[in-house]
């Protein structure tokens, strides 16, 4: 391409926004090195882009969401709310609650299974008497390959059997069933762990925010000092220009 010809605006924009191939980029850069007009054009557009980068929309709370009624009714609407979620049923279940629910479901299933397969009620005390976890001889344990899992299954089955025995034999429970106590302990432990973790994360967030705030304040102070300096220089220049003009006018009048 003729080096004397200026770069057209399409090439210029492709170069400015980095959307040209290496060959085209090299050609434009080579031309800019020898053409002050095009170089000034690029510099001016680059400066313009820098100014535009400072234009930001206000940081407002949005939080739009499709409401549940909107999703099902014809007259739908999008709610703009600062908080999300319509009710407790929309919130995700905590991990500890999920674990407790899984244990309950699993235990209920085992209870049903042992209830169907167990023979005389006298068999349950035999299992309960073995306090340390033992591998059950029930057919349900047969498919379990992992020893640890088998022991845990046997323990749960033992505890559920004891619950059934206590409920069936005693009109009044002497104390809380051990399974419920164990579950309460598990839940409390999980809650405590989550509280500790949440506190640690909150503290870390607060520290990070404080660091960022200090950095931003320092940057702002530097910017203000710089702007004040520039403004002062411009005011002095204008004053000098006005004084010079006044002198010239007075000399001309004389």
């Amino acid at each position: 391409m003729n080096q004397n010809a200026h770069v057209d605006h399409e090439q210029l924009l492709s170069y400015l926004y980095g959307e040209c191939d290496p060959g085209e980029r090299a050609h434009v850069e080579s031309h800019l090195g020898g053409c002050s007009a095009c170089a000034e054009e690029v510099a001016g557009l680059t400066s313009m882009r820098q100014l535009l980068a400072g234009w930001a929309p206000p940081d407002v709370a949005l939080g739009f969401q499709i409401s549940r009624t909107a999703a099902t009714e014809a007259g739908s609407g999008v709610e703009g709310a600062p908080s999300r979620g319509n009710g407790w049923w929309t919130r995700p279940m905590p991990a500890w609650a999920q674990a407790a629910a899984a244990v309950l479901v699993f235990g209920a299933g085992l209870a049903i299974g042992t209830g169907r397969t167990a023979g005389a009620p006298a068999a349950a005390p035999q299992v309960v008497a073995a306090a340390p976890p033992v591998v059950s001889e029930s057919p349900l344990a047969a498919p379990v390959a992992d020893d640890r899992l088998a022991r845990e299954v046997a323990q749960l089955r033992t505890e559920l059997a004891s619950l059934r025995r206590v409920a069936a034999a005693a009109p009044v429970a002497a104390a809380n069933p051990p399974l419920l106590d164990q579950m309460r302990a598990m839940l409390e432990e999980s809650e405590q762990r989550q509280r500790v973790e949440f506190t640690a994360r909150s503290a870390q967030l607060a520290r990070d925010f404080e660091v960022r705030r200090r950095v931003d304040l320092d940057t702002v102070n530097q910017t203000i000092v710089r702007v004040q300096g520039q403004a002062g220089a411009e005011v002095r220049q204008q004053r000098q220009a006005i004084e010079g003009l006044a002198r010239a006018v007075s000399l001309g009048v004389r």
């Binding site: 605006h9 399409e10 210029l12 924009l13 492709s14 926004y17 959307e19 800019l32 002050s36 170089a39 000034e40 690029v42 510099a43 001016g44 557009l45 680059t46 400066s47 313009m48 882009r49 820098q50 100014l51 535009l52 980068a53 400072g54 234009w55 930001a56 929309p57 206000p58 940081d59 407002v60 949005l62 939080g63 739009f64 969401q65 499709i66 409401s67 549940r68 909107a70 999703a71 739908s76 609407g77 999008v78 703009g80 999300r84 929309t90 925010f209 960022r212 705030r213 931003d216 304040l217 940057t219 702002v220 910017t223 203000i224 702007v227 520039q230």
Partner: protein
Amino acid sequence: MTRSRGGDADSFNQLILRWERPIFALAYRVIGREEDARDVCQETFLRAYRALPGFKGEAKFSSWLYRIALNLCRDWIRKQRRQPVSQLPEDADIDEIAASTGPVESIEDLVARRELTAVVEEAMSRLPEEQRTAIILKEYHGMTFQEIADLQGCPLSTVKTRLYQGLSVLRRELEQRGQARSRMVKPA
């Protein structure tokens, strides 16, 4: 996307969470009014949710969403038949704004915005809608020339011409106001 298309509101709300800020930013810069930009943003997601079953996935979801938003902005401009105006109060207290906006936006950003917003917004408002939209999509949403051309329904060269003319006009206006002079970048 698949769950949203099946009418799952929660899944669509996740999409809203991802796109509400960019769509609001687009609407605000095109329209220039915060409350109206919120309305456009809200209407965009409502229309998108209603039309989602018909979205075939041939284009990017973001492009489809942007098209809805731009159409709504265009409708708003035609309805209002006036130029967007700057909304930042000239006597705004920076500390107060910083305290109210929280840690998301730094004070340095607020200072820069206070200096530039009024001038840039006014200059942008004078541009023809197509030039202004092309600049906004390119500068603030990182779209390629081709993506802008697809959104605006025009050839690639037209997009570049709009961008070039718009930037040149902005540059001339801001230079006249003395904004760009002190920030001129020396050619490499």
